[in-house]
Amino acid sequence: MQVILDQDRCCSSGQCVLTAPEVFGQSDEDGLVTLRRARPEPGLYPDVRLAAVLCPGGAITVEEATGTP
């Protein structure tokens, strides 16, 4: 799995940080989403997928590698 961010679409709601804090952060500078790891461990997949669904700005894209459960 690979996580891709579009910071322009981030409205700093913090849903991603609450859902998958291991993967997402928020910049102290401007409040925009940051990526702590672009290739999360499989154990984090459900949280990352949920974070993408919850993101109100559509700033998070999850690319699932073929064959990933």
């Binding site: 700093s12 913090g14 940080v17």
Partner: protein, 405 residues
């Protein structure tokens, strides 16, 4: 098939509440059962679409073909007072990007998850002191005026840099701003009052800055005094009214279902999830979020034409059985504190989604946990049918909540 002509008489807005104070008005519920998009008529006679399904509400709130800018013709207003409010000095909730993003991003920093986490001990102190004061004053109290309202008011005052001594002024004017019964003249007067107050306060902060949001806004060169006042007003009103009503209404909901409250007392780990479930179940912005289509859009099998207003109904979206009715979790119409309710839309969706949600969550978690723990005998002292629910306000809630412990 795409339908454009309504086949049934349009639903009259706003609809009245039914017998359960926590359920959306039955007419909205019924509309939701018939389809995700229903023709409706605003009190001024204007046509608008009532959007009730979870997925369709998400689309309306996140698709730029629906505008939040109230200056567009066709923008739906539930009352003349709301029209007056949106047009005179709009805050960024009534703007589209990039104007909206420019102003919103000036204040996002203060609501970041890790910033709010750092505020938790301070919020806990405020909650404890408020309960101390309430219990020292007697054996009973009004949970709204003595707890639910002061806690978020104190927190937002601290964050914004508004003196809490002025709380009676801003609380009264906020209530008028949100009251559907208020006339345009009353709404305008309340808005003028608050705007004047915040403009003056910001001017003082410019000469005597402190470590607060208004001081930081006032120090900027790229924001006008009118924009500072409108932003401050939005944060002040949204920062206390919503959380206050969520706290009071959550307490009523939990006391009505003692087994749910008992589970929370026994297992505080459930609290974070329970707050999400309460947000879903209560959805206090019950009258819907207004938008206007700026292009033709097909929505849930219905063609919404450019220039038509839509109301995105968070309350029915949050009761959507397709999402919140999994077996073993209880029906969507039930409060179930262990349900996974994280996909609720109580904070809205899209770029306008509530900016203060990390703070709102922290306040609700701390307030409810502390209330349940410190007042194990908490009970409502009037018969339930004497409670006055705020069906007339943009923010639903209860006017007063007599309790003893």
């Amino acid at each position: 098939m795409v339908t454009t002509t309504p086949t049934a008489p349009a639903l009259a807005l706003p609809a009245a509440h039914g017998s359960c104070p926590f359920d959306p008005p039955p007419a909205y519920d019924q509309a939701a059962r018939q389809g995700a998009v229903t023709p409706a008529e605003l009190p001024d006679g204007a046509f608008c679409w009532l959007v009730t399904g979870h997925q369709e509400v998400r689309t309306v709130l996140s698709d730029p073909r629906f505008s939040a800018d109230a200056r567009h013709p066709g923008f739906p207003f539930l009352t003349p007072g709301r029209r007056a409010l949106a047009v005179t000095n709009p805050s960024f909730i009534r703007m589209d990007d990039p104007e909206h993003a420019r102003l919103r991003r000036m204040v996002t920093k203060d609501f970041l998850v890790h910033r709010v986490d750092a505020m938790r001990p301070g919020i806990q102190r405020i909650v404890d002191e408020t309960i101390d004061r309430m219990t020292a004053a007697g054996t009973g109290a009004d949970l709204v005026t003595d707890f639910a309202l002061p806690v978020p008011s104190l927190v937002i005052c601290l964050l914004l840099g508004v003196p809490y001594e002025d709380h009676e002024l801003f609380q009264a004017q906020s209530r008028t701003l949100l009251d559907n019964r208020a006339t345009p003249a009353e709404v305008e007067a309340a808005q003028r009052g608050l705007t004047g107050y915040l403009t003056e306060l910001a001017a003082r902060k410019r000469s005597h800055p402190a470590d607060d949001m208004l001081s930081r806004l006032a120090a900027r060169e790229d924001v006008s005094p009118a924009e500072i006042a409108a932003t401050g007003l939005l944060l002040l009103v949204a920062g206390h009214e919503t959380t206050a009503n969520m706290t009071a209404l959550s307490t009523v909901a939990l006391l009505r279902r003692p087994e749910q409250a008992a589970r929370l007392r026994a297992d505080p780990e459930l609290l974070r999830g329970a707050v999400e479930e309460l947000l879903r179940y209560l959805t206090i912005v019950q009258s819907g979020l207004p938008r206007v289509a700026v292009e033709d859009v097909e929505l849930g099998g219905t063609l919404v034409r450019a220039g038509q207003g839509v109301l995105a109904m968070l309350s029915t979206a949050n009761r959507d059985e397709r999402l919140f009715g999994a077996p073993g979790e209880g029906a969507a119409d039930e409060l179930e504190v262990s349900r996974d309710a994280r996909r609720h839309l109580a904070f809205g969706f899209g770029v306008h989604q509530c900016l203060g949600q990390p703070l709102a969550r922290a306040e609700l978690q701390i307030a409810l946990e502390t209330l349940l723990r410190r007042l194990p005998g908490l009970r409502i002292t009037v018969p339930e049918d004497e409670l006055v629910f705020r069906g007339h306000s943009v923010v639903y809630g209860v006017d007063s909540l007599p309790v003893a412990w």
